[in-house]
């Protein structure tokens, strides 16, 4: 997914080869991650797709099934991965992820701590942000979840940037090895305030913590704990509203010279020089946009704080 070795520049190597991870795109709300294997096939409602047909084609290609159905094969990115990964937990989505990375001031080379790992949605973007020289250490207290996350990072090629540990951060705090070494810390824990003292030890001076909590009571309690050693404490909620775009012909309110008696309230006269007996709706198609009817109304509150500078 990421280019850790500049020799294999992504824009210079966009052809699908055996063993690559591709995102099979059916529709914007229907995608799937597939590992290309030359003897394998993909079967879906459009028919059977042979992986061997894919190899050697550029990423972004449209490929056809035995029945003539088609899908697109996209190169994986953290954004696409977030849409296709298997949900072992509730995950963070694009708007929160983007904001967290910007607000945590994560740049290449940073050392970032995270807990819990969950399904690795945020972790994937964290890895992109610290690459090529930084590292993400992520912890989850759930053994099986950590194993699955490791498998995912292996699959997405992020293994060299991410280390998954099994640890109860609320109970034990982060490992002492990271004392004073972390540039940023991200917490997605039910009782984040329990981990705050440990975070204070891990962060470099002026380093930033982010805590993600769905409930305001968690935020409240977390902020109370933060006030002892942190400054610049700010809480946000960020959402994304999506729009639908449609092209349609609108009936325009025009007096129809042939049929109208002039009693219509519309005052605009039809300027068309064509015959006045044209019955179809006049006017050129209009492109219209409106917000989608349903949206995610709440994900969680993001609380940020900086470790106070004491020396």
């Amino acid at each position: 997914m990421l280019l850790v070795d500049p020799a294999k520049k992504i824009s210079f190597n966009r052809y699908i080869s055996d063993g690559d991870l591709v995102i099979v795109y059916e529709r914007h709300d229907n995608m799937k991650a597939v590992k290309v294997c030359k003897d394998s096939v993909l079967q879906n409602r459009f028919g059977v797709f042979k992986h061997s047909d894919w190899i050697g084609r550029p990423f972004g290609s449209k490929v056809f099934s035995n029945k003539g159905g088609f899908v697109y094969l996209l190169a994986p990115t953290p954004e696409l991965w977030t849409l296709v990964l298997s949900h072992r937990t509730q995950i963070l989505y694009l708007a929160d992820i983007s904001f967290v990375i910007m607000y945590l001031e994560i740049v290449p080379g940073c050392l970032v701590l995270e807990s819990g790992t969950g399904s690795g949605s945020l972790t994937t973007s964290l890895a992109r942000a610290v690459a090529p020289t930084g590292h993400v250490y992520t912890f989850d207290f759930h053994e099986q979840r950590a194993v699955s996350a490791r498998e995912d990072f292996e699959r997405t090629g992020l293994k060299s940037l991410v280390t998954v540990g099994v640890r109860d951060i609320q109970g034990e705090g982060f490992p002492d090895d990271f004392c004073g070494k972390a540039d940023s810390v991200f917490l997605d824990l039910p009782q984040p305030w329990l981990a705050v003292p440990s975070v204070g030890k891990m962060l470099k001076q002026d380093g930033i913590l982010c805590s993600f909590s769905p409930c305001i009571e968690q935020v409240q309690r977390c902020c109370e704990t933060l006030r002892a050693n942190f400054t610049d404490i700010r809480t946000f909620e960020v959402l994304l509203r999506t729009y639908e775009v449609r092209e349609g012909k609108m009936e325009s309110c025009q007096a129809d010279e042939s049929g109208s008696t002039g009693s219509l309230p519309c005052k605009r006269r039809q300027r068309s020089s064509e015959g006045s007996n044209a019955k179809e709706v006049s006017g050129s198609p209009t492109i219209m946009a409106r917000p989608s009817a349903e949206a995610r109304g709440h994900t969680g509150y993001l609380t940020f704080a900086r470790l106070r500078c004491l020396s």
Binding site: F64, V107, Y243, C309
Partner: protein
């Protein structure tokens, strides 16, 4: 020496301590005033009608807090080192008492007689060398109404007086986050009203990752270019494309403390150069610009072509201040940046490679260019499966662009989205969204380019 190491260390842009010549953001009195500055022995911060030297800030960690103190030779900045226990006390006093408060403002009479100290008294205290904190204490002691106030408004009073008599200056790192927020707060028009969450989405959706070659159309003062370069961390390339013959100003790039390696990787390229095939015309078009690029600084001023390119003009006003007030009239670049200048012309080889292999992503923030007409031009330079993002303040151009991309079957995953950001005040029993918020962060059209010539 560690300072020198900071200067030389090209790979690490993640500095935690300031050095001489570095760019900083000064936050005066909790965001009341935000000032970009370059730390030199001679640079000053003006406080009212006085000036404070910024010398004491050199070599301090970012995040340090300073207070303006009155010295013999006028005010000076002095570092405050809070102790943890002190923080605890303040916390208990301010935040915990609030809950069971019985005082209210029924006895408050606003007739301007509550304060017994006069302006002369305060001036006298100053002459006797009283610190700002002492003056604030005196004002509180001489206020007839202070004791009757709720602890919440007592704190407000204290804060108001502290801001006036003992202003605090916070030393902040100029990162994309703080630079974007500062501009959005003070001069949003200069960055095309690009809000920090919107910018963060552009970077994610544009899959800005190390070693990638990002094609950028930045008509938002350089905030986008800088943000992309920050994410690339001295790898890859940010290629700034421009229409016509004049590159767009990217002055904001200089607010970041970019290494020379990062600056070297910020290049510009005219759309005509990108579009033209390799023939004579290309050379002819480039020539005048190339000439002035390699000329000395003094000559550069005279060249009309260069005065509009990204020189050190804003940066080097008299005292090295980059206050966000209307940019000082162009003064000669006397303090040349230690770094390689960002925004050099892209090399012919690079352009050739991009034509062959494509850019890995495209990000457009051009308030005054029609989205579809520019996307139509730039999309061919993207490699297949590369993501693209377009920011605009109005939805209609994006909707039209999206529709055309759909009809042309040029992209998948097309989506127009609008970010929404709300900040909260979090206090015991007093948590609520902030009373004022930005109601609009612009629209984003995102998608992934697909390979059109499909074979059956």
């Amino acid at each position: 020496m560690s300072l020198n190491k900071n200067l030389e260390d090209d790979s690490n842009q993640n500095h935690r301590v300031t050095w001489e010549g570095c760019s900083v953001l000064l936050d005066v009195n909790d965001g009341d005033r935000l000032v970009f500055a370059r730390l030199t022995a001679a640079s000053n911060l003006s406080m009212g009608n006085k000036k404070c030297s910024l010398q004491p800030l050199i070599g301090c960690p970012f995040g340090s807090l300073f207070q303006v103190e009155n010295g013999q030779d006028g005010p000076y900045l002095s570092r405050i080192l809070p102790t943890t226990t002190e923080g605890d006390n303040v916390q208990k006093k301010v935040y915990c008492q609030i809950e069971d408060e019985s005082k209210d403002n029924r006895a408050l009479v606003d007739n301007n007689t509550a304060q017994n100290l006069t302006g002369e008294d305060i001036d006298a205290m100053r002459r006797q060398g009283a610190t700002g904190d002492e003056i604030v204490q005196a004002l509180i002691a001489n206020s007839a109404t202070f004791e009757k106030k709720t602890s919440f408004s007592q704190e407000k009073y204290r804060l108001k007086k502290q801001k006036k008599y003992a202003p605090k200056v916070l030393l902040r790192r100029p990162f994309t986050r703080s630079i974007c927020e500062t501009y959005f707060k003070k001069y949003p028009a200069r960055i095309g009203y690009l809000r920090v969450d919107t910018l963060s989405l552009l970077l994610s959706m544009g899959n800005v990752s190390p070693h990638s070659d990002v094609l950028v159309l930045d008509m938002v003062g350089g905030i986008l270019t800088g943000a992309v370069a920050e994410r690339l961390g001295g790898t890859g390339i940010v290629c700034n494309v421009y229409l016509g013959v004049t590159p767009y100003p990217i002055d904001i790039v200089r607010m970041f403390n970019f290494s020379s390696e990062t600056c070297r990787r910020i290049v510009r390229c005219a759309l005509t150069d990108l579009c033209s095939s390799h023939n004579g015309t290309l050379e002819q078009i480039c020539q005048p610009e190339e000439v002035c690029n390699f000329e000395s600084q003094s000559k550069e001023e005279k060249s009309p072509l260069c005065s509009i390119s990204m020189d050190e003009t804003v940066l080097s006003s008299e005292n090295g201040m980059l206050d966000l007030v209307p940019e000082p009239s162009v003064s000669p670049a006397t303090k040349a940046c230690k770094n390689t200048k960002a925004g050099e012309k892209a090399s012919q080889e690079a352009i050739k490679l991009w034509k062959e292999n494509g850019f890995s992503s495209l990000i457009i923030a051009a308030p005054d260019v029609d989205a579809w007409s520019i996307v139509k031009e730039l999309l061919p330079f993207l490699s297949f499966s590369a993501p693209f993002v377009i920011y605009h303040q109005y939805i209609q151009p994006l909707a039209t662009c999206m529709r055309n991309l759909q009809l042309g079957k040029m992209a998948v995953g097309l989506q127009i989205s609008e970010p929404w950001l709300r900040e909260y005040q979090v206090l015991p029993s007093r948590t609520h969204p902030l009373m004022q918020m930005s109601a609009f962060g612009g629209y984003i059209l995102s998608g992934t380019k697909i390979c059109i010539d499909d074979q059956r």
